[in-house]
Chain length 341, copies 2
């Protein structure tokens, strides 16, 4: 199959727009492209490669006419549509958290666990954005030296919440600069020039859903069901790209030089690590790029076998749209698209 | 001594202004107040309690006419002036890093190690802002259950750099919102809607000065010269207050409830920890307050004896001016001001 027909559910959302941008960059050989969205967007026209595409309703019939269905919407939409699309014979690549922890649904970052695609039953899940960039860095290190524990604190941009949150940060920043009143709407508190130590809802153990996703999804993707990993997830007043300060403990001694060498050789990872010239990853630099950027690699002064580092990636690209497209590419290259009747 | 005469060096800087605001709040019983600053500010007038005070040159004569000299300027200013002021018989309370690690200079957070004032030789150092708020939380916990290791990642506001950095974030934010070009000046890179994983200069071990201050100053203040502690310090686009995600490992088991109880009883610490009502510490709420606010207290899922938590404090108040004033108060209450000839 040279040019798979695809459908994109959630075409008018934050991830959907980035997805269409990536298609326009020409990296994914899509044949026919069908766009779907919620009722209020049906009938809208969306530009793609100079053409105007009509936004359609996501129906079983439409799904039966494509090879891959990308869903970039909320979990409830995915829960309703993914099984329908899979039943109609398409490969579903789902960005939501709805199916990620299902035992028969592969949770895939192609550079890390592309092999897991082999077991799919029509639905493949795209990991949480903050998890994806972390495992891109942890996996090559773990292959070189088994990881014993990970502590990670995140600095997550508002685009992870969606387009409305980007508008909220923009508007609130203007209000704050003018000394006016700042009214929260998307978030429970003001985000402009502030920090929210809450990403998603709280669970009974005091962690947030986002924090436990980082624990549970990392364990699943890396096939390390008992890996000790603890996260604090924080929303910061940044538009795009998530950053993470990670403290990784290894079974055996490892030098920063070895870690840098391993990460330099890892596909999809770019090392930016030259303190003397103030070179390190930053959100504004990572925006619009597909790689995970890592720097500040150093021997942890608090742990003999520890390495501390700092990683940044565009949460809408490798954290979402790019990884979804890579999953489809990987499935195609492995001849794992469902057979059409 | 009821009302000590004081001098404030650095009266026109970011910390100096907050210091004067605290004097106006009436919490410190200052007698005569003398203001000093760099040459270009000498002769300026500064308002205090409805009076206009002249900014003077910091001379040995001036120092000999006061009981306490607060220095809130750079390290080079402190290195030049602190010994002079101490020789002239004043108690020097110095905010800079110049003398903090000197064995004969107490490094003091009064709630934590007020006893260390007893050994002073005329100069007392105020810890780094990010260290002070951390030890305010660590010390009561350590007294309840010995701490074995600390991993901490910071989210530090631009006011820690100074007034010019606050202006830079303000200006760059406006430029970015208007889609214009953003030019860095104070920082090596843009700070508006961005993150800088660099606070101060880099050291040969890959850590920054700020990060190693957190390690070394915490060890000195807590009298734990070998405490394993590792920090990643990050500058965030926030005006005032520093936040920290801390992961604390204890010798023995400790529940979040026990930790909360200990912190609830700690002087200068306020627990804000009710996830169900989205109650947790945030920079905009901590600004202008003297306490260290702590929340997100939970059992670390990656460590049996671990507690994860989140703390926020106004870096210009408890992190600087408030702590300096508290040191003077503590020295007075212990009758430890140098005797005047």
């Amino acid at each position: 199959m040279d040019k798979p027909r695809i459908a994109l559910v959630g075409a008018t959302g934050a991830v959907g727009k980035v997805f269409l941008g990536i298609l326009e960059e020409g990296r994914f050989p899509a044949g026919e492209v069908r766009l779907c969205a919620s009722k209020r967007s049906v009938g809208m026209e969306v530009a793609l490669n100079g053409r105007r595409l009509l936004v359609e309703e996501p129906t079983p019939e439409l799904f039966s006419e494509v090879d891959v269905v990308f869903i970039a919407a909320g979990s409830s939409v995915s829960r309703a549509l993914a099984p329908v699309a899979a039943d109609s014979g398409a490969l579903v690549v789902d960005k939501s958290s709805a199916f990620r922890m299902e035992p028969d649904v592969p949770l895939v970052v192609p550079e890390v666990n592309g092999d897991d695609l082999r077991g799919h039953n029509g639905i493949v899940a795209v990991p949480n954005c903050s998890t994806t960039q972390l495992v891109m860095v942890l996996k090559p290190l773990h292959d070189a030296n088994p990881i014993a524990r990970v502590v990670v604190d995140t600095y997550q941009s508002v685009s992870g919440t969606g387009a409305a949150a980007v508008r909220e940060l923009t508007e609130q920043s203007g209000q704050a600069l003018e000394g006016g009143e700042v009214r929260p709407s998307v978030y429970p508190h003001r985000i402009a020039f502030n920090l929210l130590p809450q990403v998603e809802s709280f669970l009974p153990n005091g962690y947030t859903q986002e924090e436990m996703k980082m624990t549970n999804e990392t364990r699943k993707i890396m096939h390390l069901p008992d890996l000790p990993i603890s996260a604090t997830c924080v929303r910061v007043p940044v538009m795009v790209s998530h950053a993470e300060a990670a403290h990784v403990e290894f079974e055996h001694s490892i030098s920063p030089g070895e870690a840098r060498e391993v990460l330099d050789a890892a596909p999809g990872v770019t090392v930016l690590d030259d303190p003397d010239s103030a070179l390190y990853p930053m959100p504004v630099d990572a925006e619009g790029k597909d790689d995970v950027f890592v720097g500040r690699i150093r021997q942890d002064v608090s742990k003999p076998n520890g390495i501390a580092l700092w990683l940044v990636s565009d949460n809408l690209r490798k954290g979402a749209a790019t990884n979804a497209i890579q999953i489809a590419e990987e499935a195609m290259s492995r001849d794992l698209l469902p057979a059409r009747a």
